[in-house]
């Protein structure tokens, strides 16, 4: 029972990372496709402003996922990191490039420097979610079991590639929906249409990939495929599809606030459906939740720590997102950091 509760916490953390981190990856994806320095100036400006205050927080979900894995399910952690060595190592390299690229681009003035940092940020925004998705897809196929050594076959099969592409498409969708809302929030009318079009396109790509995925996984990842096409899994997937369609409609009516909720809902439901489809396995069909579980006392403490943390971290997290969406959070400008002239305050533009 305790281990099931911890597995739910793990699934919740994965869902949160997929939605929060996913939105940021998506912003990076659109940064990549924004075009040259002049053409991409406006979208990049919006992406910078939208991501700045929250991307670090969104990134920490990943650390939390890893910690629950090794504390709650040590065997799962050992297995995943042994079998999926290369994609996870590449994802880690991508995380460095991405974070450093984004953080350093902002205080850099020269165009050449900004280009280099921006490219590092944008390219790794594509590669990191791809490799993370490919690793998860590889696990779903059942190619990995405790004791499996690292091999390219574990993550370079049809299911893995589709899962990686689906992850990228989902992040692009979330990113575009949120940026549409941000464009309205920052009164950038020209960018509302720009990102709305991209949200629709990525939704189309998602639909195509999902259909291909259904075909590929039927033989390649039978257990998860069956879980997603019957019972509760199917119900959740259908609601997720409805949510995605509703998002498209809401964007058309520029009800961007609601569109954000339905978009997050549809991605979250898909992740949860996947998690449910794997039951009772953490790795289908070789490692169940109860087999992977660590010491019961540790799991109880982990739940206690999680409960305390929800109480402590929840309110500040809500505050952060509220302040952010209310437009209260703004970066310090150069003028705030320097004195303009004697006896005068730096101006607040």
């Amino acid at each position: 029972m305790t281990e099931d509760a911890v597995a739910w916490v793990l699934l919740a953390a994965v869902t949160a990372y997929a939605c929060a981190g996913g939105t940021d990856y998506g912003a990076g994806f659109w940064d990549l496709l924004a075009g040259g320095a002049e053409r991409g100036r406006r979208p990049r400006w919006l992406i910078d402003h939208a991501m700045e205050p929250v991307w670090e927080t969104n990134n920490v979900w990943l650390v939390f996922i890893l910690v629950i894995m090794w504390t709650g399910f040590p065997v799962l952690f050992q297995t995943v990191f042994t079998a999926m060595w290369l994609p996870l190592a590449l994802a880690a390299v991508g995380l460095v490039l991405r974070g450093a690229g984004f953080a350093l681009r902002k205080p850099t003035r020269r165009l050449a420097g900004r280009r280099v940092y921006g490219a590092a940020f944008a390219v790794s925004s594509l590669l990191t979610p791809f490799f993370l998705g490919a690793a998860v897809g590889g696990l779903a196929t059942g190619r990995v079991a405790p004791g499996t050594k690292a091999s390219a076959e574990a993550w370079s099969n049809g299911t893995s590639v589709i899962a990686g592409l689906l992850t990228v498409a989902a992040t692009a969708f979330l990113g575009a929906v949120f940026l549409t809302a941000d464009a309205r929030r920052f009164d950038a009318a020209d960018l509302v249409g720009y990102f709305r079009l991209r949200a629709w396109c990525s939704l189309g790509a998602l639909a195509v990939l999902a259909v291909v995925g259904l075909v590929v996984t039927r033989d390649d990842a039978r257990y998860v495929h069956d879980g997603l096409t019957s019972g509760t899994g199917l119900a959740l997937v259908l609601i997720a599809v409805a949510g995605a369609l509703a998002t498209a409609g809401l964007l058309y009516r520029t009800a961007t606030g609601w569109a954000r909720i339905t978009a997050v809902g549809s991605v979250a439901l898909t992740v949860v459906a996947w998690g449910l489809a794997q039951r009772p396995y953490l790795i289908p069909t070789s490692l169940t939740v109860s087999e992977a579980a660590g010491a019961t006392t540790t799991l109880r403490w982990l739940l206690l720590v999680t409960a305390v943390a929800v109480v402590l971290v929840g309110p500040p997290l809500v505050l952060l997102y509220r302040l952010d969406t209310a437009g209260v959070l703004q970066p310090l400008t150069e003028a705030d950091l320097r004195r303009t002239a004697a006896g005068r305050e730096p101006e607040n533009p």
Partner: protein, 484 residues
């Protein structure tokens, strides 16, 4: 040097050396940012409080600029920290698979604390312009507490690796009957934690003060530089003697709880009483010592306050269960460098304290400021040395007396790991280089702006007349939430 490499190579599979080097490199780089992640918010808030309380515009400007530095530093720290949690799985799956549920909870506490820190720091960094001044300040006050909580988790995990307990082993050698409380509060936890916390605060203090000491030496003797130097330097100077006592206490804890590690850091070969102390020197594999300054009786005296104190030597355990002569020498040098720097910093702090008590003023000697400018770098060196002492001194164990590093290492091919090490070194050199460049550019821009402001003030330049007077700024305090 070749023999040193042979020694390291001899004790495990081929992938052990690159895995070790990769972990050492990434952790050694990340640890340089840790003092700022943990302590810079506290130092900044101190300055911020001063600015708000006294309506001091210069203090507020300093706090704002430090928070701009914090924004970049925290981001780099987050990515290098995330890499470390990946590497625990990529490099040491054996340790995590077997012991993850015994000692992982500390990381759980750390992850949540870190989460809270990321949220609060975002609100602080981006709240300057629109939040009310005091609201903004109070929202950031839990930040140092969250940082201390995060340090608690990480140090708990590390101290468990040094003195593991809170489990029993079953017939197959797997841990069962996990007792989480005993696993978190291990014997080395208390000494390690306080030594770490005080160490990072004083490191952050000396580094920040060092920046303004350089400005001071270059003749920028205004109130801005004076304040920027005095506040962080005072914090660090007050903590320096405290840290000296804590360092002495942790060394004695190691003596009691990890006698073989103590023997390595003091290069003691044979168990005995009246053991001499060696400053530096090199341990040879036959147990003799080359070079170094020998002080008779002192090691016994320091370890147990009596020359009759019996000190366990390295030769008391089989060669496979103790650090090699090279590893012992590395741990010994790291330890001695740390102690030497600490002693010099203590003298610097006393110099400062003496002048302050006598004249309520900074020391006048440029040599004081030269030393102060170097103190930050020296502190970063001791942070590295402290970490090397604790990690290398524990060899060949990853979990002291329970799992060897060689048993924990990944199966990944050595060539793959060497390649990855190469990529990571290049990447980190670029990232850290870019980070420092960006900081220098930022400070350069600010200095130009400050000088521009002075030039604009024209001949009535107050700076020229009153070197310590307030800068020409509005007395209301700025940037703390004016209308946008």
């Amino acid at each position: 040097m070749n023999s040193a490499i042979d020694h390291v190579l001899a004790d495990g599979p081929a992938q052990l050396l690159p895995a070790r080097e990769l972990m050492a490199f990434t952790l050694g780089s990340h640890i340089l940012l840790v003092p700022f992640g943990v302590a810079l918010p506290a130092v900044t808030l101190l300055m911020h409080y001063r600015g708000l309380r006294r309506g001091d515009a210069v203090a507020l400007l300093l706090a704002r600029r430090w928070s701009a530095v914090m924004a970049v530093q925290f981001a780099i720290g987050i990515v290098t920290g995330t890499v470390l949690s990946f590497e625990l799985g990529l490099l040491w799956p054996g340790m995590m698979g077997r012991w993850g549920d015994v000692f992982g909870l500390g990381f759980g506490v750390e992850a949540w604390a870190f989460f809270l820190e990321a949220i609060l720091i975002a609100i602080y960094l981006y709240g300057w312009r629109r939040l009310k001044p005091w609201t903004h300040f109070w929202l950031a006050v839990p930040l140092p507490l969250a940082a201390l909580m995060g340090a608690f988790g990480i140090v708990a995990a590390n101290s468990w690796m040094n003195t593991p307990r809170g489990f029993t082993l079953d017939a197959a050698g797997n841990p069962v009957d996990v007792d989480v409380r005993r696993a978190i509060f291990t014997p080395m936890f208390g000494p390690e934690y306080w030594h770490f916390v005080v160490g990072v605060v004083l490191t952050a203090g000396y580094v920040v003060a060092g920046v303004y000491a350089v400005g001071w030496l270059r003749g920028r003797r205004d109130r801005y530089h004076r304040l920027g130097f005095t506040v962080p330097f005072s914090v660090a100077a007050i903590l320096t003697p405290v840290q000296f006592l804590l360092g002495d206490s942790i060394a004695r804890s190691v003596f009691h709880k990890q006698p073989v590690k103590f023997a390595a850091t003091e290069i003691v070969w044979k168990t005995g009483t009246h053991v001499p102390e060696y400053m530096f020197g090199r341990l040879r594999s036959d147990g003799t010592i080359a070079g170094g300054i020998r002080i008779p009786q002192l090691d016994s005296l320091l370890a147990g306050f009596s020359t009759d104190t019996k000190v366990t030597g390295l030769s008391s355990v089989p060669a496979g269960d103790r650090p090699t002569a090279t590893q012992a020498t590395i741990a010994h040098w790291a330890f001695d460098i740390m102690v030497t720097v600490a002693s010099l910093l203590l003298l610097l702090a006393l110099w400062y304290g003496w002048c302050w008590l006598r004249r309520r003023d900074l020391p006048r000697s440029p040599w004081f400021f030269r030393c102060a400018a170097l103190a930050g770098g020296a502190c970063l060196l001791t942070v590295e040395c402290g970490w090397i002492t604790t990690e290398v001194g524990r060899q060949p164990w990853i979990v002291y007396q329970n799992m060897r590093v060689a048993e924990a290492v990944t199966d990944a091919r050595a060539s793959t790991l060497w390649t990855m090490l190469g990529i990571v070194v290049v990447l980190y050199v670029l990232v850290f280089g870019a980070f420092l460049t960006v900081l220098r550019r930022m400070s350069g821009r600010w200095r130009l702006a400050d000088e521009g402001a002075l030039a604009a003030a024209g001949t009535g330049d107050v700076e020229g007349d009153t070197p310590y007077g307030p800068r020409p700024l509005s007395p209301t305090g700025g940037g703390d939430g004016g209308p946008a």
